[in-house]
């Protein structure tokens, strides 16, 4: 067993520098790497390019990095819910590259899988397809999309073991698995870190080979973005 465990976010984020490209898991505020984001804020690294489906809210998630002007460019599919984001984007401080959600996921997965490029119908005939190679397959037009390149991927799992194996919970899975192994270094934070052998090898979502560093998150706020409930009868 190759041990990937590090004591905390401090060690896990060694080597993160200004100007790097980072992948960050999560959908909305669900399944985001809270502890790694907090550490990025502490480190104060700047000029970051962040590949993340969303950009957090004003005071949580990637919004924390936006508040401190640490992000140069966002590559996302949907970036509402964030006033500071809007301000920086409209003022031109922040560069934004909008990517269809499925292409965003597949471009991460392609990087993980050593697939440099693939064809998808999403975005053909729209701004997204402009300047991209297009081709007809079975009578339907597709565009060529490329794998992302990133320096670090920060993901959050429910459980993990010292070998770096990860198990996700519910829809907090989302982009986290496809970012593992999609960057030069993948850092996983988990709610519960167990010794190797405790996770069922049959039920591991991401094998440890895709993860370079794993640590137990200090605490999780897990903020709910849209609390919707029904009344008990």
């Amino acid at each position: 067993m190759i041990n990937k465990k590090v004591p905390s976010a401090t060690e896990a984020l060694q080597g993160v520098r200004d100007g790097m490209t980072l992948m960050l898991g999560g959908f909305g505020l669900c399944g985001i790497p809270e502890n790694s984001i907090n550490r990025l804020v502490e480190l104060g690294v700047k000029e970051l390019t962040c590949i993340s489906n969303n950009a957090g809210v004003d005071d949580f998630g990637l919004g924390l990095l936006l508040q401190k002007r640490q992000i140069k460019k966002m590559i996302s599919s949907y970036v509402g819910e964030n006033d500071e984001f809007e301000r920086q984007m409209l003022s031109g401080e922040l560069e934004v590259d909008l990517v269809p959600q499925g292409s965003l996921a597949e471009r991460c997965r392609a990087a993980q899988a050593g697939i440099p490029a693939f064809f998808t119908p999403a975005g053909y005939g729209t701004e997204v397809g402009e300047g991209k190679e297009s081709r007809d397959f079975n009578g339907k037009m597709h565009i060529l999309e490329h794998a992302f390149e990133a320096d670090f991927a920060f993901v959050k799992a429910w459980k993990g073991d010292e070998a770096g194996n990860l198990v996700f919970k519910g829809t907090a899975r989302n982009f986290n698995p496809v970012m593992c192994g999609a960057a030069k270094i993948t850092v996983a934070e988990v709610e519960e870190l167990v010794p190797a052998g405790e996770l069922d090898p049959n039920s591991i979502h991401i094998p440890g080979i895709f993860v370079q560093r794993i640590y137990q998150g200090a605490a999780y706020e897990k903020r709910i973005e849209q609390r919707t409930v029904r009344k008990r009868q």
Binding site: L29, P100, G102, A105, E106, F168, G170, A172, V229, R232
Partner: protein, 218 residues
Amino acid sequence: MSLTKEQIAQRIAKEVKDGYYVNLGIGIPTLVANFVRDDISVEFQSENGVLGMGPFPYEGEEDPDIINAGKQTITTLPGASFFDSAMSFSMIRGQHVHLTILGAMEVAENGDIANWKIPGKMVKGMGGAMDLVASAENIIVAMMHTNKAGDSKLLDRCTLPLTGVGCVKKIVTNLAVLEVSENGFVLKERAPGVSVEEIQDATLGKLIVEGEIPEMIL
């Protein structure tokens, strides 16, 4: 009398067939789930990574790790599954989802759709909409026939940046049910009490009216 948003959803629910996997967009489409007949089997997919969505949780039972694509807390039904974003879009891109229902700002008579961007305004992004419209074999647009300014949303050509080309098959508005054909919008049903003329007046794109147009049955 034009339909309410609930009634639009109610009419669209009739298009949901037994055995369908359905993806519902935000807004009116979300309401469709409330009107699906309970004697048929349907599963709802949400592109953030869940199949088999159930109703909202009871108060106090919200789980921050279980949400839908609108970021709302949800529950799941027996037979549900969770999966990652790549697999979620394998379901969509691979045409395993049978029906996609979503809103639009504009639809053109050739099936083009625009629903993600207004030049000059803050752009939030397309989310999964471009994957959905480019992939789905069966797309129903749920929207008001005209915008707040009273302008038609059914055009000869979209004026806003496109979400997808030639992909819309059916449109249900507060005034009518229409199908997209090679020659334009084919009027299939009128909202109760709404005349063909009223629909024609509210439609900027080519409207094809053949024979008697029945009123919708909700």
